[in-house]
Symmetry: C2
Subunit: 281 residues, 2 copies
Amino acid sequence: MKVFLNSEFMSRDEARISPDDRGFLFSDGAYEVIRSINGKLFRPEEHFSRLERSLRELRISGIEIESLKQIPEKLIAYNDLTDGDATVYIQITRGEAPRKHAFPDRRTAPTIYACASVFCPIREKFQKGVKIILVPDTRWSRCDIKSVALLPNILANQQAKESGAEEAVFVRNGTVTEGTHTNFCAVYGGELLTHPLSNRILGGITRNVVLDICREQNIPFREFPVFEGELRAAEEMMIVGTTTDVMPVVEVDGRRVKDGKPGPITRKLMEAFQKMVYRSR
Amino acid sequence: MKVFLNSEFMSRDEARISPDDRGFLFSDGAYEVIRSINGKLFRPEEHFSRLERSLRELRISGIEIESLKQIPEKLIAYNDLTDGDATVYIQITRGEAPRKHAFPDRRTAPTIYACASVFCPIREKFQKGVKIILVPDTRWSRCDIKSVALLPNILANQQAKESGAEEAVFVRNGTVTEGTHTNFCAVYGGELLTHPLSNRILGGITRNVVLDICREQNIPFREFPVFEGELRAAEEMMIVGTTTDVMPVVEVDGRRVKDGKPGPITRKLMEAFQKMVYRSR
């Protein structure tokens, strides 16, 4: 397995960083996960521009986004992942420096780490739908930045796993924000609702694609929060994300969503999304 | 410079971790900073029991706290820091594992990293007092866990530095919670106020010591939030912490605290604290 670290490709075992990296000491970094299908990246430009935005918001400088763009395809090729589904992970941190909260010396080089993995979407989950649990949104108030400060996300995701659920979805002040690594959508009266872009959610690439499909197929939608108290009345629900695609949700906290089967709008979006992703197959 | 990594002491340059460590990918870890004076640790038991609590709250298992207790003194000795002030840093993460939000295989060994540094308290700051700025408390809602998910703290601390201030102090819902790496106290009518222990602040060791001194010296105190709207009326303010000791605050957001000089209760606490810390000198 070959990975990329700073300026070169190397075997995973060779890739070593200093524990004084600010990514390790302070969660001082941002990341992206990009989907690859048969060697072709899905919406790489959107991922790179989101990464650029995260770095700008965190004021991590010294990265030429253009120079990163060749890394994913090379990782896919070097790791024989040109056939089938894979994901590429890219993380940038503020680099290695003596531990101090404030930013280090301007000459500190950011750390760049990237790796690729096989990805196996489980067909059954898309056919039958998945369970989610609701958890309090304990996260910080800049969830629009795709940072590696993911501690609340992993704790919530672990809770989901232990409940036999696919995902934990956060609730803040009575509104459903998003999942630990997905955006959330629900359907009311044939209209798809998803939390508006704000500091409370990550602007998901898959979320964008879903809204684009809604526009194309004249599916009514609104970027407006789903209220926790109205979840019972939802006709359909789904979670969407780079490693989740469009996935039907059929149970919330042990309670069925309608008849417990993926609904018509979810199936429509799921199919259109799959078609788009696998277009190049 | 010798550091400790996993099971051995080694030179700082040799200490290398995998970028797949969950500390690096997910900020999935906890830490402590312990003060050392002339080779003697200040309140190590309290730091280790807080570390134990953080690990328990994060459900990071596989660490025998007892086995860690010899590390700080050895680091102090190996690095010739037995004379004067130093700090020991200890971080534990959930270890190296393929990237997935939920906890990895139970057999995954946690990563242990520890290092020691010279520490130079700046006398002038204690004599003249320091400036702070107020910033919105954007952090997650488990600030009682001393985790490495410190991104909001470093962004706020950097903002303080750029404003020429010593520290940024967080305000949440109109109440002053704590600083980026300090607790905050203010004096009203001769009574010291500091935020009560809750999920909104870290239970600081120095904060404990300060309250103990108040008890001993019959200084009235109350664990009750300081309201942002009443900050102007404060007679004295201070920030307290392991690398800050008891430090007078004489300016908030460019506005003087009273006459802009460290007040009598602050000086009393500062002296008593210094005496306690340097008792072994």
